[in-house]
């Protein structure tokens, strides 16, 4: 009788269910990971396979012989270095502008009360939901008449300004969480508002600023549509547009394409992996502060 009880309690009930449950959870988690990571792994494999293998042995993830030609070719034959530089310039320039104006605007919103503030905030929230695609046609025409098409400054401006609403909404929560006493103390010490922001408030908001910077930078680095309509000259192209031109009417070189795609993905993914905890912390905290 005693053994039966022990037997039953060991195998049945919450404990077994808990182990089984946990194993199931791990299984699901791992399966999901495979689904998300596999395409990139396959891309790496495709870029290293000899040309013939791509079409005749697609299932071989590990290439029969590692062929580094596309890597050497992509840097020699396509202006990929130039594209990388362009991507970096636009992404950084755009993020800088967004950050600057967002910090100012969110400070203003956070620290002051005025009529219609609530409506304004809701408006801000709604307005940044609209995807950029809706605006491409009028933006192109406007930029064209301003003579900003095919200029670096035009694109950076678009990127920078486009993120202001989101950035403001995002950072306001951070400013809100800093008590106003800090402002007053600084004011008492004779600091101007700008100095207050710069020296006292911002340093406490670094995770939030970092999160915003990461988000904006990655968004601009990966942008295609806006860059495609604004820049038509090869010299000015960022990497995404450059890759699209590789699949132009002339040829679809799978390997070159895969390699170029990896050049676009790898730097961002690596940086992203290191900084993602800031991002998640920032986004999660932001979500909470609503």
């Amino acid at each position: 009788m005693a053994t039966q009880t022990i037997f039953r309690s060991a195998l049945s009930g919450p404990r077994l269910a808990k182990t089984a449950n946990r194993s199931l959870l791990y299984l699901i988690a791992i399966a999901a990971t495979v689904v998300f990571v596999f395409p990139v792994i396959w891309l790496i494999s495709a870029s290293l396979k000899p040309n013939v293998d791509i079409y005749r042995a697609p299932l071989n993830l590990i290439p029969s012989e590692v062929d580094w030609t596309p890597y050497e070719k992509v840097f020699r034959v396509t202006p990929i270095a130039r594209y990388l530089l362009n991507s970096f310039t636009y992404a950084l320039g755009g993020s800088a502008i967004t950050l600057f104006f967002s910090v100012l605007a969110s400070y203003g919103l956070s620290r002051h009360i005025f009529t219609g503030k609530r409506t304004f905030l809701t408006f801000l929230l709604i307005v940044q939901l609209v995807p950029q695609l809706v605006r491409v046609v009028p933006i192109y025409i406007m930029m064209s008449s301003l003579g900003l098409v095919n200029t670096q400054i035009g694109l950076i401006l678009l990127y920078g300004v486009g993120g202001i609403a989101y950035g403001t909404w995002f950072l306001k929560g951070y400013f809100d969480s800093i008590p106003k006493d800090l402002d007053e103390a600084a004011w008492m010490d004779g600091a101007s508002k700008f100095a207050t922001i710069w020296r006292i408030l911002l340093p406490t908001m670094v995770p939030g600023l970092a999160a915003l910077l990461i988000l904006q930078f990655i968004g601009h680095w990966n942008d295609f549509t806006t860059a495609a309509i604004m820049l038509r000259v090869p010299d000015l192209r960022p990497l995404t547009v450059g890759i699209y031109t590789l699949i132009g009417p002339d040829e679809t070189d799978f390997r070159l394409l895969s390699t170029a795609a990896l050049v676009n993905i790898v730097p961002v993914v690596v940086v992203f992996s290191f900084l993602q905890r800031y991002l998640v912390a920032g986004l999660a905290a932001g979500a909470v502060k609503r």
């Binding site: 959870l25 988690a29 791992i30 999901a32 990971t33 998300f36 395409p39 396959w42 495709a46 079409y55 299932l59 104006f101 100012l104 605007a105 400070y107 203003g108 919103l109 809701t122 709604i126 307005v127 939901l129 609209v130 995807p131 950029q132 695609l133 809706v134 605006r135 491409v136 046609v137 009028p138 933006i139 192109y140 025409i141 406007m142 678009l158 300004v161 202001i164 609403a165 007053e184 004011w187 508002k193 990655i218 990966n222 942008d223 295609f224 495609a228 995404t240 890759i243 132009g248 009417p249 676009n264 993905i265 992203f272 992996s273 993602q276 991002l279 998640v280 905290a285 979500a287 909470v288």
Partner: protein, 310 residues
């Protein structure tokens, strides 16, 4: 001391005219480059502007709209766009929530899991489309079909069958966007008071009960936000269609946005699409914005309704 403090606080408020010097520069720029274009588009939609004659556009009233609503290609596009949004958003929400719950559990290595689920966020939409196009390729080079054949299941006509092409678009979009929704929901989950959950467990609630009766209701606001973000954001799909199906086969995966872009700028490779018709494209943009607006207004109405109830 208190009096001095309140005086300085008032001075703080009055300094440099209040909030406006801080808010105005950003807001004005944003108005100019992000709000004004939407309004300008209404005007453009009533002209016959073309890329080749930007300065000599003539007013044509509602002619562009008349053309659009008698164009079966456009009506198909509206239908597909709505289908796309209404199917993928709930599915994406469910999967994202499931993943968020998963990551919230104290599993070992959950940081790694979390990283991989948000990995697609770091990849450009165009690259995502190209990657999956290569994977789903119907020729001998396609990995998925090769795998399915090995397993004896047979090949899937991902891009030559209209329904499968649509599935491909749905799948790839969910794959790439579920991570961001997950992070959002995860943030919400992590703020739920642990004590409440523990109390419920003590009271005998199992996992399902804890989920449906405590977690879900507390996540209402965040869920609503996530949903509206998803609904509206999904309209912006473009590069994935460009890379995967190019609107085909037979315009089965034409969204309003894709048709708009192809009409205005000519998506390269599109066999002789009448390109450069900015007026007509602007009209499509107006329709697209109109549909988005309906979703937004619905959300706002629901939120206000909620607030009144509470």
């Amino acid at each position: 001391m208190t009096a001095a403090l309140s005086r300085s606080t008032r001075r703080l408020e009055r300094f440099a005219g209040g909030p406006w010097p801080f808010i105005l520069p950003g807001v004005l720029l944003y108005l100019a480059l992000s709000i004004y274009p939407i309004l300008y588009q209404f005007y453009l939609a009533m002209t016959d502007m073309q890329v080749t004659s930007l300065s000599s556009a003539q007013w044509v009233g509602l002619e562009n709209f008349a053309f659009l609503f008698s164009d079966s290609r456009f009506l198909d596009a509206i239908q597909f766009t709505l289908l796309f949004v209404l199917i993928t958003v709930p599915v994406q929400y469910t999967i994202a929530f499931a993943l968020a719950l998963l990551v919230d559990q104290k599993l070992r290595g959950r940081i790694v899991f979390r990283l991989t689920y948000i990995l697609p966020l770091a990849i450009s939409s165009l690259i995502i489309g190209l990657m999956w196009r290569l994977l789903m390729h119907e020729s001998a080079a396609g990995f998925i079909n090769a795998l399915l054949e090995q397993l004896g299941i047979g090949t899937i006509p991902f891009f030559s069958n209209p329904n499968w092409a649509r599935f491909a678009i749905f799948f790839v979009n969910i794959w790439s966007s579920v991570g961001s929704t997950m992070v959002f929901l995860l943030g919400g989950l992590q703020t739920i008071d642990v004590e409440q959950l523990e109390a419920a467990t003590v009271d005998g609630a199992n996992a399902w009960q804890r989920f449906f009766l405590i977690k879900l209701p507390l996540m209402r606001q965040i869920s609503g936000l996530a949903l509206i973000f998803m609904f509206v954001g999904t309209f912006g799909i473009f590069e994935k269609i460009l890379a995967l199906t190019f609107g085909g086969p037979a315009n089965a995966t034409f969204t309003i946005g894709f048709y708009m872009f192809a009409t205005a700028f000519g998506a390269r490779g599109a066999w002789g699409t009448t390109a450069g018709l900015l007026g007509r494209a602007a009209a499509m943009g107006v329709v697209m914005f109109g549909v988005i607006l309906i979703f937004v207004l619905l959300y706002l109405w629901l939120v206000m309704f909620e607030r009144e109830e509470a």
